[in-house]
Symmetry: C2
C-alpha cells in the first residue's frame, strides 16, 4: 500500500530516509555480518552508533559542555518519578506549572515523592486552552526546580517563550516538541523527552541534564534511577535499547542533513501556518479552541460545528489516506499531529480536504 | 558480508526468520501504509501485534491464568529495584541466593529498599563455579520472596532443578535462559527477563507475575513502578517499546513454528552437549571451571592452558567468522553464548575449530 498521510500523536511518522536506511542494513550493519539488533552494546560497531547519536544531539541542540546526554528507558512517564526522586532534596520542594494532562501526571507522581507546589495552572479559568503568562507564575525562589511541559499534545498548546525562573533549575518535559526548532539549552537544568515524536521510536528517553544537578542528586534512591549512574557510564551502565538509539541516530542524521534545527523550524512553521490558516479561513465551520498566542506548532486541534460533523470529517479523511486525525478521547474534536517528520505534502492534502469538506452543502 | 557465527552474550543472535520478517515489512506493516514504528500504540494494527506477543508467551510457557504477563522497560537491572519496591512489605524481609555477578547486583539494589537476607552464596567456597544445593539454603519461611538468578552468564552456571522454597514466592531473574525449555511457571511468584537473549531485542523486559502479588504489592511507591499499574492496562499504561514487542512477537512465532519449548530444549541440549564434549575430549588443553552438575546450557565457559593461548584462540576464531567468544572481562577465558537462536552449524564450526586449534603443535 502507498504511504499514508500519518497524523498520529505518537508513536508517529518517522522520516522515510531513516526507515529506509534501517531496512537496508537490518540484516547486516556496516558489513559486520549481523544485525544492529544482534550486536553487543559493548562492541565497537554499536559503540560508534551510540556515540554518533550522542554527538548529533549535542550538535543539533548546541548542548553546552556542562550537560550530560543520557539515553534511558521508561518514557516521560518514568521521568515523572525519576526527576523528583533525584532532585527534590529533603526539606525542600519543587514547583509545577500545570498546562494539561501530562503536566498533571508529572505533578501527581511527584506528590508522592516530596513536597510539591503548583506555581500556576490554566485548568480552571481556561480549560488548559492557553499557556500561563509570566506574571501568573507564583514561583518559589527556593524550589529545587520548576517543571513545565513545553508542548501539550492533547490541548494543542505550546510555550512560545520559556518562563523566567531566576536561579531555580527549569525542568521541561519536551517529549512532543524537542528539536522542533533551535533551543537555548543553557536556560534549562534538565530536559527530558520520550523519543516517539521528533526523535525516533518509543522505548528511548532522552535526558539532557546539567552536570551539577547530576552530581548533587540524591543518593538514597536505587542506583538504577540515579542520573549519576548513567552519566558515569555514557548510558551503558546496563544494556540500553540499542535498536531504538540506532534509529534515533538515523532520524537525527536526517535532521542534520536537511539543514539542522533552523531549517526544521522554518519547515514546521510553514506547515503549522498552512493548517491554522485553513482553520481560520472558514471561521463559521472550523474553530481552534486554543488562544492564538498559545497555539502549538506540533499538535493542531480544532472543532467542527457538531460532534457528528467531526466524526464524518474523520471518517472521510481516512478514505483519502489520512490517519490519526481523531482528537484525544478526553477532549474529542480533530487533532493533526504534525511533528518534524510530517511531510508538507500531507499538510497540503489535509488543507485541500478541509477546504472542500461540506463546502457545497 | 556473510552472516557470522554469533556467540555474543547479549544482545545476541536472533532467528534469521524473525529478522527477515521485520525487514520485509519495515516500511509497511500488513498493508497499513506505515511502519510498525509509526503506528499508534492505541491503534488496532499495533494492538493485534501486542496481544499476539502476550498470547505467545502464555502459550509457549503454559502460563496459568492467575498470572499477569507484562512488557516493561529498563531491563533486569531496573527489576532489581522494582521487585523489592513492590514486594518487600514493611517489617518483613526478602531472601537472596547469590550465584554470580547479577544476583549480587540484584541483592545490592534490594538492600537499599528493605531488609534482605542472603540465603546462600557459593562465592567464597567455589568462586561462583557451582549452584548451591537445596541443603545449603537457609531460607526464611516468612520472607516476602526468595530470589534466584536461573542462569549466570558470566560464570556459566545454571540451576538444573529449581529450589524448593515452601510457601514463599520464588522470584527468578531468567534473563539469560527464559524459554530455553518448558518451565513450570506455577512454581514461581514472579519471573522477569530482559529480552535480549532468548526473546528479542534489548529494551523490552518480560515480567510474569502471580496476580495475588500484583494485588498485594505496595502502594506507597511511584505509580509507574507498581506492577498493578501495568497489569490493569495490559502494559499500555504508557507508550510501550512497540518495535521491541513487535520483534519479540516475531521471535516467539519462530519458536512456536519450530515446535515450541520441548523442541527448543532438545536443540539446546544437543548444542551444549556437543560443545562440552569438545571441551572434555581434550582435558589437557581445555578446561571448564564449572562443576559438572551446574554447567549452563546457555553460556559455555572454558579455559586454555594460558591467557596467551586464550587470546590467540579468540583472535583465530574471529578470522574464521566467529564473534563474541571472549570471556567476560571480570573472569577472562573463553565463553560461547549459545542461546535459542544460536545455530547448530555455528556450534559445529566452533567444535571443529576447537578440535584443530594447536592440535599439531
Amino acid at each position: 500500500m502507498a504511504r499514508v498521510m500519518n497524523f498520529n500523536a505518537g508513536p508517529s511518522a518517522l522520516p522515510l530516509d531513516a526507515l529506509e536506511r534501517a531496512q537496508a542494513e537490518l540484516l547486516d550493519l556496516n558489513g559486520s555480518g549481523m544485525s544492529v539488533l544482534e550486536h553487543s552494546h559493548r562492541g565497537k560497531v554499536y559503540e560508534a552508533v551510540h556515540n554518533e547519536a550522542v554527538s548529533l544531539v549535542k550538535e543539533l541542540l548546541s548542548v553546552p559542555d556542562n550537560y550530560d546526554i543520557l539515553f534511558l528507558q521508561g518514557g516521560a512517564s518514568q521521568q515523572f518519578a525519576v526527576v523528583p526522586m533525584n532532585l527534590i532534596q529533603a526539606g525542600k520542594s519543587a514547583d509545577y506549572v500545570l498546562t494539561g494532562t501530562w503536566s498533571k501526571k508529572a505533578h501527581g507522581e511527584a506528590k508522592g515523592l516530596g513536597t510539591v507546589r503548583v506555581a500556576a495552572t490554566t485548568e480552571k479559568d481556561a480549560k488548559f486552552q492557553r499557556i500561563p503568562k509570566q506574571s501568573e507564575l507564583e514561583l518559589d525562589p527556593n524550589a529545587c526546580y520548576a517543571h513545565i511541559t513545553s508542548n501539550n499534545t492533547i490541548f494543542g498548546t505550546q510555550w512560545q517563550t520559556f518562563p523566567e525562573v531566576g536561579n531555580v533549575p527549569l525542568v521541561a518535559d519536551m517529549s512532543s516538541d524537542i528539536m522542533w526548532r533551535p533551543t537555548d539549552v543553557s536556560k534549562f537544568g534538565l530536559i527530558y523527552a520520550g523519543a516517539q515524536k521528533n526523535l525516533g521510536p518509543s522505548g528511548v528517553t532522552l535526558v539532557i541534564v546539567r552536570k551539577d544537578l547530576v552530581e548533587g542528586g540524591r543518593k538514597d534512591i536505587p542506583k538504577i534511577f540515579q542520573y549519576r549512574t548513567h552519566a558515569a557510564e555514557n548510558s551503558l551502565y546496563n544494556t540500553p535499547p540499542t535498536f531504538g538509539i540506532y534509529l534515533l541516530r538515523n532520524v537525527l542524521a536526517v535532521s542534520k542533513q536537511k539543514g539542522g534545527l533552523s531549517a526544521m523550524e522554518q519547515y514546521n512553521r510553514k506547515k503549522a501556518g498552512l493548517l491554522y490558516a485553513a482553520i481560520d479561513s472558514r471561521p463559521d465551520f472550523y474553530r481552534c479552541p486554543v488562544e492564538r498566542d498559545s497555539r502549538s506548532t506540533m499538535n493542531v486541534v480544532f472543532n467542527l460545528p457538531t460532534p457528528e460533523l467531526e466524526a464524518e470529517f474523520i471518517a472521510e479523511s481516512q478514505k483519502k489516506g489520512m490517519v490519526g486525525l481523531k482528537g484525544h478521547r478526553s477532549v474529542g474534536g480533530v487533532r493533526a499531529s504534525i511533528y518534524n517528520a510530517c511531510e508538507m505534502g500531507w499538510i497540503e492534502g489535509l488543507v485541500e480536504f478541509m477546504g472542500s469538506f461540506k463546502k457545497g452543502a
